[in-house]
Amino acid sequence: MFDSSRLKPAASLVQPSLEGWPDAPLRQDGVHEFYAAGEQDGAAALALGLLCAVQARRNGEPSLWLRLAKSRQARQRPYAPGLAELGIDPATMVLMRLPDLQSLLRAAIDCVRHGGAGAVVMEMDGRAPAFDLTASRRLALAAEQSGTMVMIVRSGADPTPSAAHTRWQVASAPSVPLPGNAPGGPVFDVTLLRRRGGRDGLNLQLEWDRERSAFQAPRSGRAPLSGDNPALPAVRTGDAGRRSAA
């Protein structure tokens, strides 16, 4: 049996630049859900899921990416040069295309139980009724046991009750323009919808910095970088009663 206690020190995702990610780091041995806010935010949700998985993994463990072979999402195929451009080494990725949702869930639970992959990314489109509370509970238990990070990326669906440790809503956000009004690096608008045993409602804008493999608050491209000071994320509180960042 895979010893998960060994992973505890590495189980925190807190990065210096992630202060705005409150005391809710993405646990290495947890299940995390990323819901696309709108119909066309699927790519953003998936990118955030993949990037969190990449950030959490140490020394190039492979990640497994499970998606359906036939569905609305099959028209959009994962493009490996685009992965490389985000700073995700496509060579460490194993892509599984499964015939239906049942097989996807079955394959996912096997992958998570095995524990050989650093992260298992499941892409699901639409309501996915077969993915119920029981199925997600099973995944969460397996993830805790094997120390595998499970990213569930869903688009075209409303959040349903699940055993996920965190649940995020993701949308694309305007990027920091480059000279010549060119679109800059990816910026995500992220809302923490739910966190098991913790506060939620946090909303942040995160820009992915490929060179440092870290998220940061979107900064104005023309302003000089402040040297050692970690950039403060733009924090908007969900309601006046609770502040999410100290």
């Binding site: 895979f2 060994r6 066309q40 790519a43 953003a44 998936l46 990118a47 020394n59 463990e61 492979p62 072979a69 028209r75 959009q76 195929r77 994962p78 493009y79 490996a80 040069p81 685009g82 992965l83 490389a84 451009e85 985000l86 700073g87 080494d89 496509p90 060579a91 460490t92 990725m93 194993v94 892509l95 599984m96 295309r97 015939p99 097989s103 394959a107 096997d110 992958c111 095995h114 524990g115 050989g116 992959a117 650093g118 949308a171 694309s172 956000a173 305007p174 990027s175 323009p177 480059l178 010549g180 009004n181 060119a182 679109p183 690096g185 990816p186 608008d189 992915w208 490929r210 060179e211």
Partner: protein, 481 residues
């Protein structure tokens, strides 16, 4: 001819339409006794025998049946080849010790098994395939008694031999060869040498011989599937010893289950890394058996299990292929093998780069077991220049641009209008005209676009305005994160 469909003594004919007439291709044994012969018209035969039943002749079904019988005959030897429309040749050299039977024993066993299935078979053993075939066809005890027709020569050679008073192979064998060759050609001397077992002919087996195979015979047929995995494990143990002796590991294992009634079921597993350990092999076979859409049916029982390793490679190479670094995690390869066995090899992939100009060809999916390939590093300081998802095929969009060859201002996709807030481009990609002389296609101008909601798209104009196309169309090729 299989007699299952009709009572064994029924007279029936297999017919085919030839030049507008129903012609008899084959007759059942009972029909043959009525004085009918193959090649007759059905109408003539019916005039003789009004009750003659006629069935459609399907040569491809006959051939498929012959191949199934060939597989069933692999219980005696792996070298089985179909010959013509109705014969099988088995190379039994060196097989008698394993079978614990002699020539007659094998022949009787084979004929008995076939007759249990309802086949009438003629069998004979001889030193060469040609001699055995001729003995079986003409029903003689020795080669010398065979008629000259057994030579299978073309034209009227048989007739000419008969006129010369040479009616049996024995008479031919006693004559000097040179005058015969001068009269009938070289083919005759070769055919004669084959018949007289002076010269051998190669048999090309129906299935390639596996380099490593082990088998288990049962005194009593195994009528349940349960003990199957135990037997497979024992066979895998024997296969491991053979593999270790060669310093190899198996990439593909096949198990053939020979049922007493001649049916042969085959199970195969593929592995990403060379395997040896019986436990690993059995785990994959268990997965294989569980995922069969059509479960194994032991019928009256399996009496022979054979495991072969058609594909193997050096164990040392590629052992650490999937996990170069020590990640402190279990090796992924067994998991991938298992998933591959269950869901099929076509659903498991890894990305590999391809040096191609057009973006849709710049990557490809390779089997998950292939080695990792390095990817070019993106340029530092640049935002992602390639999208995360690519549309296949590119989606047509309606675009509003200020000038026909300028960047887009608005575009419509999926019934929604997007106002372009930021854009960069064009990145001009010419059609790869250098590949072939006649290759021509429109140039593509790619733009990276961000709309007012912050969504990033990859659009291209198909064709240069004016010089290539009067009204170039726009396509959405990808979406960025």
């Amino acid at each position: 001819m299989r007699e299952g469909a009709a009572p064994p003594d029924a007279a029936f004919a297999l017919i085919a339409k030839q030049r507008g007439a129903q012609r008899i291709m084959a007759l059942s044994p009972a029909a043959l006794t009525l004085g009918l012969s193959a090649g007759m018209m059905l109408a003539d035969a019916r005039a003789q025998e009004p009750d003659l039943a006629a069935l459609e002749h399907r040569p491809e079904a006959d051939h498929a049946l012959l191949l199934r019988l060939a597989e069933a005959c692999e219980r005696y030897t792996p070298t089985v080849a179909p010959h013509g429309d109705d014969a099988l040749v088995l190379d039994l050299t060196g097989c008698f010790d394993i079978l614990a039977m002699d020539e007659t024993g094998v022949r009787d066993d084979l004929v008995a098994r076939l007759s249990r299935l309802g086949f009438r078979a003629l069998a004979a053993c001889a030193g060469t395939p040609d001699a055995a075939l001729a003995l079986a066809r003409f029903g003689k005890r020795s080669v010398r008694e065979l008629p000259v027709a057994a030579l299978g020569l073309e034209g009227d050679a048989h007739l000419a031999l008969g006129r010369a008073g040479l009616r049996t192979i024995g008479q031919l064998a006693d004559r000097p060869r040179a005058p015969l060759v001068a009269r009938f050609g070289k083919a005759m001397s070769i055919a004669l040498a084959h018949l007289l077992e002076e010269q051998d002919r190669r048999i090309t087996p129906h299935r390639a011989l596996p380099p490593i195979w082990v088998e288990q015979r049962f005194a009593e047929p195994m009528a349940t599937v349960k003990p199957l995995l135990g037997v497979i494990e024992r066979l895998a143990g024997q296969a491991r010893d053979l593999l270790v002796a060669r310093g190899r590991g198996g990439r593909r294992y096949e198990v053939s289950l020979f049922r007493t009634d001649g049916h042969v079921a085959r199970l195969a597993i593929d592995s990403g890394l060379p395997l040896r350990e019986p436990a690993d092999v059995v785990r994959l076979f268990r997965e294989r058996i569980d995922s069969l859409s059509d479960p194994l049916d032991p019928g009256f029982g399996y009496d022979l299990l054979r495991m072969s390793v058609p594909l193997h490679e050096d164990v040392s190479e590629g052992q650490d292929r999937l996990d170069e670094e020590d990640t402190g995690r279990p090796d992924l390869a067994p998991l991938l093998d298992r998933l591959q066995v269950r869901f099929g090899a076509e659903c498991l992939h890894r990305f590999a780069p391809r040096d191609e100009h057009l973006p849709e060809y710049a990557d490809r999916l390779v089997p998950a077991a292939s080695p990792r390939q390095p990817w070019p590093q993106p340029e530092a300081g640049e935002p992602p220049l390639r999208p995360l998802f690519l549309f296949e095929p590119p989606q047509p969009v309606t675009v509003l641009a200020e000038v026909p060859d300028g960047p887009p201002r608005r575009f419509g996709w999926q019934g929604r209008q997007h106002r372009v807030v930021r854009q960069e481009g064009p990145e001009r990609l010419a059609y790869p005209w250098w590949k072939t002389v006649e290759a021509t296609g429109p140039t593509r101008d790619y733009y990276r676009i961000e709309d007012e909601d912050g969504r990033r798209f990859w659009l291209f104009r198909h064709g240069l305005y004016g010089s290539e196309k009067a009204d170039p169309r726009w396509y959405l090729h990808g979406v960025f994160a």
